[in-house]
Amino acid sequence: MGFYLRMRRAMVALSTLSALVVAWFVLTTVTGLISSGRFPDPFATWAAMRQLVSPGYAGSTLVVHVVHSLTLVLGGFMLASTLGVSLGLLMGWSRKAEAFINPIFLLLRPIPPLAWIPLAILWLGLGDAAKIMVIVIAAFVPNVINTSTGVRTIEKTVFEASQMLGTPRWRFVGEVLIPASLPAIFTGLRLSLQAAWTTLVAAELVGALAGIGLVLNVAQQDIYPAMILSAMFVVGVLGWLMTLLLGFVERRALAWRTA
C-alpha cells in the first residue's frame, strides 16, 4: 500500500473513532437518549477504569487480574502449542500415525472448547488447573490441523534435496521439516491464541477466583455497566497486544520469506 493511501486510511480511521466517541458522549451525557442503566457515559467509564486500577474491583487491582489471566492464557497456549505442533508434525510426517490418531481426533473435534468447561470444573474445580485444561483443549486443535497440513504441502523437491545432501534425521526435523512448515505453523498459532483467549474469558466468566473474566462476571452481578465496559475494553486491548506480539515474532521467524 502506498504512503498516500495509508495516510488516508489512518485519517479516516481516526475520524471514525473520534466521531464514535462524540456520538457516545452526545447520546449518553448530553441528551440522555441512552440511559446510564443500559450503557455507561464516558465519565462513569473513566471513573470505573480508575477504580479498577486502584483500589481495585472483584477482589484485586487491575494489574493482579491481568497478570493472572495472561499467565494462564500464555502458559496454556505454550503448552498446547508444544503438544499440538509436535503431534501435527508426527501426523504430517507419518501416514500411519495419522491413520491411528485421526478417528480419535474426529470424535473429539466437533465438541467446541467451551463445552469442556463444565467437565473441567467438575474434574479440577474453579481454580487455575481447570482453566489450563480448557485453554489447552481450545488451543491444541488448530495447531495440530495447521501443522499437519503444512507438512503435507511441503514440495517434494525439498525432501529430495535434503535426502540428496545426506541429511541425518534429527537435522532433517530441525532444519527442513519445521522451517518448511513454519508458515502453516504460524497460521495455527494465530488461531490457537485467539481460541485460547476466548476460552479463558469464558471459563473465568463461569467461575474464577481472579482474572479479567471474573471482573466481567462480578460487574454483571453488580449491574455496573461502566465496569462491564471497562473490563471489555481491557479484554480487547489484551487480545490486541497478544496478536501484535505474535505477529512480531512471526515476522522475525519468517524473515526469509518473499515479502
Binding site: 507419518s94 491413520a99 480419535i104 466437533p110 467437565l119 449491574i223 462491564i228 473490563a231 479484554v235
Partner: protein, 263 residues
C-alpha cells in the same frame, strides 16, 4: 526413507480401528481399575446409556431433545441474524469504498473482544431468556459472515465489473447481480466458519446465562456432580455441530460445482 509413503485404504482403516480401540480400552481401564474415581469418569457405555435415558427423562426441567430444541431455536435466530446483517453489509463495504473506510476501523477494534465478553451487556440489554444468548451467538457468528462477503466482493474479477458497468449497471443491481453471485463461494465458506463459531458461542452463553438449553443442562449436571450427564451433553453438542458442518459443507460443494469452481 525420510517421508513415509502413502498407505492403502485397508491399512488406514485398520490403524484407525486400532487407534479407537486403544482410546476406549485405556478409558475403560482407567475407570475399571479405579485409577480415576468412577464419579468423575464414567464408562463410555454409561455415557451412551445416559444419553438414551435423557432422550425421554427430564433433567433440569426438560428432556435432552427439548433442551436441544431450545438451543437450536436460539442458535438459528442468532445465526440467521448474523448472516442477514453480515453478508449484505460485507457486500456493501466491498462495493462502496467510503463505507469500508468508515466501518473497518470499528470492526478492527471490536475483533479483539472475545464474543463471550459480551455476555454481561447481553444479559443487561436483552435478559437471560432468549435475547441475551442470541446476542452472544450474533457476536460469535457475525465476523466471518462480514469478512468473507467483504473479501469475496473485493476479489471479484475487475473485468466482470468493467463488463457490467459497460452495460450501464446501477449500484444496487451491481451488488445484487454481480457481486453477490461472484462472491457466493467465499460467502458460503464464511457461513460455515460462522456456523461453527456461533454454535460454540451459544454453548458458552448457555453455560453462563440461560434457564434451559443444552448448556444449561450441562451446568446443572456439573452442579449435581453427574459426570455422565455433562458428557452426554458434550456428545450431543458434538453430534449437532458435526451434522451442521456436514450440511454446510455439502452446500459449499454444490455451489462450488454449480459455479464451475473446483473446491
Amino acid at each position: 526413507m525420510i517421508m513415509e509413503h502413502r498407505i492403502s485404504l485397508r491399512e488406514t482403516l485398520a490403524y484407525g480401528a486400532i487407534g479407537l480401540a486403544v482410546f476406549f480400552t485405556v478409558w475403560s481401564a482407567l475407570v475399571l481399575s479405579g485409577v480415576v474415581p468412577h464419579t468423575f469418569l464414567p464408562l463410555p457405555t454409561e455415557i451412551i446409556g445416559r444419553f438414551i435415558t435423557l432422550l425421554t427423562h427430564t433433567f433440569a426441567g426438560a428432556t435432552l431433545p427439548q433442551h436441544l430444541l431450545a438451543s437450536l431455536g436460539r442458535y438459528l435466530e442468532g445465526f440467521l441474524l448474523a448472516a442477514a446483517v453480515g453478508v449484505p453489509l460485507g457486500l456493501l463495504m466491498g462495493w462502496f469504498r467510503w463505507l469500508d473506510d468508515i466501518l473497518s476501523p470499528i470492526f478492527d477494534g471490536l475483533r479483539f473482544i472475545a464474543p463471550i465478553a459480551w455476555v454481561p451487556f447481553a444479559a443487561l440489554w436483552f435478559g437471560t431468556g432468549f435475547g441475551g444468548p442470541i446476542m452472544i451467538i450474533f457476536a460469535g457468528a457475525f465476523p466471518p459472515c462480514l469478512i468473507n462477503a467483504h473479501r469475496g466482493a473485493r476479489f471479484v474479477s475487475p473485468s466482470l465489473i468493467e463488463a457490467a458497468s459497460m452495460l450501464g449497471t446501477g449500484h444496487l443491481r451491481m451488488i445484487y447481480e454481480v457481486l453477490l453471485p461472484a462472491s457466493l463461494p467465499s460467502i458460503v465458506a464464511g457461513l460455515r466458519v460462522s456456523a461453527g463459531l456461533g454454535w460454540q458461542s451459544l454453548v458458552g452463553a448457555e453455560l453462563i446465562v440461560a434457564a434451559n438449553g443444552i448448556g444449561y443442562m450441562m451446568v446443572q449436571g456439573q452442579a449435581n456432580v453427574q459426570t455422565s450427564t455433562v458428557m452426554a451433553g458434550m456428545m450431543s453438542i458434538g453430534l449437532v455441530g458435526f451434522g451442521m458442518d456436514r450440511l454446510l459443507r455439502l452446500a459449499e460443494l454444490t455451489i462450488g460445482r454449480r459455479l464451475g469452481q473446483p473446491t
